[in-house]
Symmetry: C3
Subunit: 659 residues, 3 copies
């Protein structure tokens, strides 16, 4: 059996085309060298045109044809697009947005996924579909739905209101507990019965933070519940792995969802200008569960994306190849295009594909062929090496995001904050992973926890244990200052974290434009943002405010606990100081004595399975020539030749594997 | 009888003022030299204060007074503003917008013009009004409504839903036909019954293009149906011509509407900065029907427009005179101000007029008098000449606009595209006309068809015949790539047009910022926009991509067919190359051996009815001095003197007539 | 008894914290030197958790504790936040916005304050609360509600519709009167019954100006009615003064509201960049009634404001002190922080306070202490002097604002216009007051009336009498051109004002970018804006248009009447000319022979009660050093030393008192 099988493929829509076209397209896929087809996510009206009237013949035909051609398949459940019989004359089943506007059939995700009838029909459908699917052993995974909540977030329908009340009662038991936990005395918002608790629909001004947080959690949990139901139907038939193609933008809790499935896959359509987002996807989804390092890229464009209301420009030639290199180097097992044959109707006609609606090669076709050759070239190396498990971990948490979604202060976006922070690790060539809150810290040396307004009891306990066992826990800014329900602490401003750090007092406020200045590690820095300054012992303070305001207060604190230490950063520092801080606390994880590169050269560390050699998979993800500085002689694995110490140039989108 | 009678007038509101004021205003109109009054478009509550209670005495008085003073009249039907009895307690008769918001009484166009009760009452009203109107032979036209759909577009009321289903059933006969034509399998949007087909109300993401297109057509046709009903009521009484004051902005199909009426009139309030729009109106509306070259300008400001929420600045002195010159030179038979006496209530108080609410001369009064003198000066020439029928035609199609409204890609607006294209003809002094799709091509030499995503069967057939008979058909960019229902073609990307051109393959994608470059006619050009590149024979290719991407593909194709040829331009080229292409293919229509001018000098070609001499009516529509270069000696007709070969200056807003 | 007692305090929320925290906080207030606590405005659900179940024990405890510590109290009624029992299952009681969206419980001001049940419950509550409050003589005022209409404006619920119809019937008696006054014949908007008159809900285009104006007035009057009801309940128990904390932004008629209460208080959170707004508040609210010069600042931040969706930056150290100096110098009797202890829940957690939720001193604490010292320093001077009643008055009218709200022309905002105009008086050091329309003009020398589209009969009559008695009335621009119902005049364009000025004709139009130019007082100026130009006698014209358009027309007119004169300014002139005009007409009120200062140094004129000496209270409200030029020797009252003639520097936020 092949180790680290590399999947290369595209999304196909057999329900939309004639048998003749289907055959032609699968032939071409095979010819190109593709071995993966994803299908099914919008097929409901074809396979169940009327309730309980099932016809999976097109699916079976498609599975036969792929099987014959050695093309493995990811089958999707079609729940984002229920047929018209689901919602016609049933407005109560439709999604209602935060303004109270009810959606209508005609796009996707217009259903309330908490609706009981929808859930029932979805389970019946999947049950019937699995009877077909389980017969084909080249189906390597079932993908649930498609980009859960990519167009919608919380639903505000009447049914959700009732479920919300039940959820609250289960969580809080008594309404007094809820009032206490939410601080509802402010503005006389107290409730006397659970059924009085509002959905956060329009008000003259803002809802309270606890309501906003919990309404999000309610939806996150309800979605996980739906996933659980679907998975249990699938697992009745087969132990085929279940996955989902998620993304960075959607308001879901990926960690929670991930626990219900076997692994997490993803979509990304990042242009070269934001290459760091492309990399971040690779380094987040494979760690979503503790028990697997599996992930697949299930959608990206051959050249450009677009829809009726947005035309986008093609990628430069070379970029798609660099994306594919990145994908496989990072340990992702599939590189999949959306889509093989362009849509001729609907709203996504202006989206890149492998072949156009009329069957001609598109502008992305050359890239498609280049990736095919790339795969052939790196396959031997991929199959004989694995990603080295990083010991530097950064917590990326959708729960943390929820707090910032609700308290953005007009300036913050969790994803942007995390992207910028993660990019520093790319620039510094520090081997890293982005992990969920529940990530097993046993093999971690350094843990970074930023922008986490609330540190859960469990997270704090595990982080503390991790420190006691010798870990370095770097925490802050905007971390630890809120309760689970998004209230401020009433003790020291940082709750348990403050106690751990032994702070005497704290103050939190926002500043900008250099209003606040600080000094640490011999550097000065503007402190722009929502900062926390604390009073601690002289020894513990490692960075101090030098402005008039809050003069002398600490924004950087170090505290040894057990065999390790906590490093608390209360303030937003500039990029230079942040880099220095990261380097300082990841000293064991630098490769600067081996090589250094320009920022836009991204490195993935792999280790030979048999050889045990350390490999540096490097790619220039920019439009300009970039440099690679070898501090020692290394082997160019793709060309099998020795490279002397010295400076080398990587052309735009070029890559190399050094060992 | 006077040939080419010139109408000069204003809109009046006898229902708003005392008899004394009315008399005073008509006296002043006569004194100014006005011979046209438009009235009636908002009078419904005055003439029918309660259902079936009619009182047209003010209308009769107003008609008597105008008749006595030699002022002809355009009478309007008051359907944009139904009285309160139409909608009070009848929300179901009100217009519902695309967000599902129901309008209320108090502005205008708040009614659903598809409502049966409204239609019935409108017909009864017009019937009664015509009993009065037909007695006055100085009523020269009946104008329907006022600027149909200037504030609203499609209606989403329940009644429209039912009519929509009937309309679909009539168009598609079976719902399978609809599903097939619309490609509804995408996203499981298929319908099983016509009554399931949604109105494109809010969804999480986009509706499909076919639904959007058809919902527009449904409304365009329903409006034409309403017009037809109204016209038939009017024609029962009189053969008085029926017209409508339309405009460039409204979402209607002017060609379709035009077929139901006798001629099309228009409103325009263009400031000097966009003088080309003013000209475009003159060159579009007179060609809306094949059987007439009649049009009237029924609304423009004496100085500035405005309303409660928008103050606008006055035109410079001279500009209104230049507008009037343009109007009559272009063959339009009326120049009419909105309005004579300023509104004192409502929402348009801050709008320019001839006299203010309190009867003083406004800031526009001087212009009003100047135009009066201008008319006296040019009348002898106008009465003895006609516009020469242009042989260069540019299709301006509201159907084509619908596709771009729905697929704007975030960048396109049909009107702006067409304005920019038409302006090139003004700059080049090529005598041109803007014609609807159904324009008779018998007298046309060159036909330009740009930005027409769909070329209808009929249009293609007639254009092909036109080519076979010796015409030059210049087609593209963004033309021919979609089916009638706004789907992509599945054969060659350009359907029948592709077959005509004999293309081997095609690719369409968007690019910008010079990402794509091409070469044609010895020039290079950036190709920025939604471009189509094709593979054709070496001989047919007249312009090629020179970028790396799509290198060597053709963006300009020439194909001889019969006695003529098709010139296909797939790409958006820069202005210089576009001008060169236009010149190249309109070679028989240049006047550069006679005269050349700065861009902002606009020329209209007329011919003496008796003398048969060619006249160049020229006007400087800018704020600066501009030049006119005579290549031969010509006669200045207004001053009756010989002008030698050489360069002359036209001051801002100045004009001349050369022969 | 102390004269001019100075109150210094903060808003407290005893209902939110434990008894222990409450005691601690009052202790600290006392220690800081605070003598005022405001409380109660959001307490309804605590004091009446279920209908008719009252428990004021926390209030009593809080009153006892403050009394013991010498802290006076302002008690608020909690009507902005009705408990859940008020609205649960009663959507008809909720506020409906202008789009027809119904609010929900969970924020504040979500109730329709015209709802009969709400009114009844509010009266019962206040009745019960007063039974407690009246027992405490250290309660110095009752504040009604909190910032009336700060998040909402007009309500569009069904109940308001009925009240609206009753209000109209009372105002107009017959619907014909309404139609006549509103000019509803325009666009056939006429009504036949009062119950047909719409609320200005969504329409395709604009509602008429009369409807918009009256719907605002209806709400302004209804709010005053509610206040009257509440006041009468309070006065049953006690003659304690009633006030309200209003602000500049809310759509209310403060003058009307002010007549129902004893005095008007205010909130302001102005950053240093807009210091003039801070001053304007001080100079407006004390004059809202004719019979008192009392006002209190009841909310300002210790350092910064903010909420979940808006982080703001802290004030610079010194600014809060300068604010406090300004407040007391201007004659305001209280300087009160919002809030003492930071909110830990709700939506305003990121708002500055005296101590944080967890009891630590905030970043604003140093300022709080500095203000305490400032008060000690200036108290002797404040207690022995009063603000000199200014004889230069500027009308600031919420009624005038309504016209501009509705007819903003896309460019105007009443508050911004008035701020800019008032700032000129600060720059010129002219002692001034901002007064309501009904201000007693007996003691006024010069009255400025700008941006008042409608001059009411009463206002005109009183202004004319004022002029006849020797006053100078400076009126315009954008004044006098509309009727009460926001129609244009039909006589001379300026109605009665035009008659007073004896104008022959007038014209009004908007221009910008120097399109219009004028000359007056030997200066030329661009005339940018909605200007009125008039034809008057040669003698009366003091400023003329010099542009081609409207050349020679007057924009500045002077007319002597009786012992005084009217100065009419029709146009918006530039700042230099405006300053010159102001100086020209306030000649008796200059202090330039005594002192001159940089613009940002603001001066308040006070007079010693016993000494009768004139004092100049000066403060530098900017971030830079500013100069003070003494033209004669003066005494520095705070340091009790002589200052020679010459130039002095005021550091940022520094202040001095000269006599």
């Amino acid at each position: 059996m092949v180790r680290n099988k590399m999947y290369y493929g595209a999304c196909v829509y057999p329900e939309l085309w004639s048998d003749e076209v289907m055959v032609k397209d699968y032939d071409l896929m095979q010819e190109i060298g593709m071995n993966l087809a994803r299908m099914g996510e919008f097929t409901w009206s074809t396979f169940e045109p009327n309730p309980d009237e099932f016809d999976f013949s097109i699916l079976e035909r498609s599975l036969e044809l792929t099987k014959e051609r050695g093309i493995d398949v990811v089958i999707c459940t079609p729940t984002p697009t229920p047929p018209i019989w689901m919602t016609h004359n049933h407005p109560e089943r439709l999604h209602v947005d935060k303004n109270g506007t009810r959606m209508i059939h005609g796009s996707r995700q217009h259903i309330c996924s908490n609706n009981a009838y929808f859930r029932e029909r979805a389970n019946i459908f999947v049950d019937k579909m699995m009877e077909v699917v389980k017969k084909y052993d080249h189906v390597i995974a079932v993908q649930l739905d498609n980009e859960f909540k990519c167009h919608v977030d919380q639903c505000f329908c009447e049914n959700c209101k009732n479920l919300w009340h039940q959820w609250l009662e289960k969580k809080y038991e008594t309404v007094s507990n809820l009032n206490e936990a939410w601080g509802t005395k402010v503005w006389s918002q107290e409730y006397r019965h659970f059924e009085q608790v509002v959905q956060p629909l329009p008000t003259p001004f803002l809802h309270n933070s606890a309501l906003l947080f919990n309404y999000k959690r309610f939806h996150h949990e309800k979605l996980a519940e739906f996933i659980k139901e679907q998975v249990s139907v699938i697992k009745k038939h087969s132990d085929i792995p279940v996955t989902h193609n998620t993304g960075m933008f959607f308001d879901v809790d990926n960690e929670m969802m991930g626990q219900e499935m076997d692994f997490m896959s993803f979509d990304t359509y990042t242009p070269v200008e934001h290459y760091e987002n492309f990399v971040l996807n690779q380094e987040r989804w494979r760690y979503i569960r503790n028990d697997t390092r599996k992930t697949m890229l299930l959608e990206t464009s051959t050249s450009y994306n677009g829809h009726l209301e947005n035309y986008a420009v093609p990628h430069e030639l070379g970029y798609v190849e660099a994306e594919a290199f990145t994908t496989f180097a990072a340990g992702t097992s599939a590189f999949t295009y959306w889509l093989f044959r362009g849509q001729r109707s609907g709203s996504e006609q202006p989206h890149g594909s492998v072949v156009s609606s009329w069957g001609d090669k598109t502008i992305g076709y050359e890239s498609v062929m280049n990736v095919s050759q790339l795969i052939e070239k790196i396959e031997p190396l991929i199959s004989e090496s694995n990603v080295i498990e990083p010991k530097v971990a950064i917590t990326y948490s959708d729960r943390a995001r929820s707090y910032i979604d609700n308290e953005h202060g007009g300036v913050y976006n969790y994803k942007e904050l995390m992207n910028a922070f993660h990019k520093l690790f790319l620039d510094l060539n520090i081997h890293r992973k982005l992990v969920p809150e529940g990530h097993d810290l046993n093999e971690v040396d350094v843990l970074f926890s930023l922008y986490m307004h609330n540190l859960s009891k469990d997270y704090l306990a595990r982080a503390t244990e991790f420190v006691e066992n010798g870990g370095t826990w770097f925490v802050g800014p905007m971390s630890g200052g809120r309760t689970e329900n998004h209230l401020w602490h009433t003790d020291n401003g940082l709750g348990e974290l403050g106690e751990l750090l032994d702070i005497k007092s704290s103050v939190q406020f926002y500043s900008k434009d250099g209003q606040m200045q600080g000094e640490a590690l011999g550097m000065t820095s503007e402190l722009n943002g929502l900062n926390t300054f604390v009073e601690v012992s002289q020894e513990a303070s490692k960075g101090k405010v030098i402005s008039d305001t809050a003069n002398g207060q600490a924004f950087l604190v170090e505290k040894e606990i057990g065999k390790g230490k906590i490093v608390y950063l209360g303030a937003h520092v500039n990029k230079d100081l942040m880099k220095k801080l990261i380097k300082e606390h990841t000293r064991d994880h630098h490769i600067t004595d081996i090589l250094e590169t320009s920022d836009e050269v991204v490195i993935f560390n792999r280790r030979g399975i048999d050889s045990n050699e350390t490999q540096y998979w490097m790619v220039n993800l920019s439009k300009e020539d970039k440099t690679v500085q070898l501090k020692q002689s290394l082997v160019d694995k793709l060309n099998d030749k020795q490279l002397d110490k010295g400076q080398y140039t990587l052309k735009p989108y070029d890559y190399m594997v050094l060992a």
